[in-house]
Amino acid sequence: METYTKKRIEIIVELPMLRRVLDAIDKAGASGYTVVPVLSGRGTSGEWRGDAMIGDTGHMAQVIVVTSEHRIESMLEGIYALVKRQVGIVTVSDVEVIRPEHFS
């Protein structure tokens, strides 16, 4: 089965910023994204647990975007502009996909 190389971006972002990050992903031309819940975490801004919070502040979610290499640059810039003053992390890795027409 033939596979094609794409990039997988994973963004851990605070819930109040989520909508804005998803809009930036759209604007950068990705064909889709997936949001995964996060239970708890720790980072430079301390430790948190979702079930010991009320409201969205400090509560993270994880966004997964599979996209083509050539979109990475502009997408990272759009995301970075949004999250540079916020908590949250961004990682990029290589993946193979089987249905290339599914991703832009």
């Binding site: 605070e14 819930l15 109040p16 910023m17 804005r20 801004s45 301390g46 430790e47 948190w48 647990r49 979702g50 079930d51 010991a52 919070m53 009320i54 409201g55 969205d56 502040t57 400090g58 502009a81 003053r85 916020q86």
Partner: protein, 328 residues
């Protein structure tokens, strides 16, 4: 005075407050006790529906007068002004920088619905009459404080506000926030369906209400306790003093307004409670978007860990006494 004391004691030993204390103690002792997130969110929606609906039914029963409009206007103005006072207080007394002071100030201009719910219980226990439309006032007081705080923050540091975000979009987001929509929507439904509607759903929103409140306050206790454990190191004694006295400042600002509007004793107590309470859901989220440099650990710990427990335990009996004094 004696009445206030015994009321304070009765309040302290009521099941809701004791369940709050239980949650707080559990979290401080590092127990893993917690109400699961999705359930906690639903409990919050339940409280909004219950308090909104009952408020609407009251209005349907007794009609409303110019008092409603005055109270809405008074609430909005207070919400916009209190942050200025809070900001001045913080800048003069604490060591917070401009941005963090503005962010904290926003919380105290806005309101806490759960505090209002707890105060409503107290006021009912005391048989103090109150206007059903106070819940509408609560909805109106959610947001003006945020605009004031953003203005204060940009005056303190022109680069404070996160770029590219219009205030209008943010305001729209906050006013379409699920809890505000449910509160106002249930208020209107209560108004439209009146007593008859209430009869149909009272076994859901009236009878078990206090028990559900206990469960919710158990969770609030856990949240407050964990917040304190995480955030305590960021609060010096000056901030603690602020968190304990700022509600009194808000109450003092609201009391004359309540008097002028001519609210009933219970209504005045609730109006004062709104001014004295601090937001911990809507405003923090708005601050994360608009003032990302401000530290959530400071404003959340103050609002949830200091002011909320103070209001729930000692504040509410005080505001009830105040309401009786000015309107009695």
């Amino acid at each position: 005075m004696d009445g206030t004391l015994s009321l304070a004691l009765a309040n302290l030993l009521s099941p809701p407050v004791l369940f709050f204390a239980l949650g707080l103690a559990a979290a401080l002792a590092k127990s893993d006790l917690a109400i699961p997130e999705q359930v906690a969110k639903t409990l919050a929606i339940y409280l909004m529906i219950a308090i909104g609906f009952k408020g609407g039914v009251e209005v349907a029963k007794f009609g409303f007068d110019t008092g409603l409009l005055l109270a809405l206007a008074g609430g909005a103005v207070l919400s916009a002004l209190i942050p200025m006072v809070a900001f001045g207080y913080l800048r003069a007394f604490s060591k917070l920088d401009g941005i963090n002071a503005a962010a904290v100030a926003a919380h105290y201009g806005s309101i806490s619905i759960v505090t209002l719910v707890a105060a409503t219980q107290a006021v009912q226990t005391l048989n103090l009459p109150f206007e059903g439309y106070i819940v509408a006032v609560a909805a109106v007081m959610e947001t003006p404080a945020i605009l004031t705080a953003l203005w204060l923050a940009t005056r303190a540091d022109p680069s404070a506000k996160s770029s590219g975000e219009s205030d209008g979009a943010l305001m729209r987001e906050i006013m379409l926030n699920g809890s505000v929509v449910v509160l106002v929507g249930a208020f209107i439904i209560g108004w439209v369906t009146g007593e008859e509607g209430l009869t149909r759903i009272a076994p859901f929103i009236v009878d078990p209400f206090q028990g559900v409140l206990c469960l919710f306050l158990l969770d609030m206790g856990v949240v407050a306790g964990r917040g304190l454990r995480q955030g305590a190191k960021l609060l010096d004694w000056r901030l603690v003093v602020f968190g304990l006295t700022m509600p009194l400042v808000g109450a003092a600002m609201a009391a004359p307004v309540a008097y002028l509007i001519g609210l009933e004793p219970g209504g005045a107590a609730l109006f004062i409670t709104l001014a004295a309470s601090a937001s911990y859901i809507a405003v923090p989220a708005a601050m994360r978007v608009a003032l990302p440099e401000a530290k959530p650990a400071i404003y959340l710990t103050l609002s949830l860990g200091i002011t909320f427990p103070f209001n729930i335990t000692l504040g509410i009996p005080l505001y009830a006494a105040l309401g009786q004094m000015i309107a009695g």
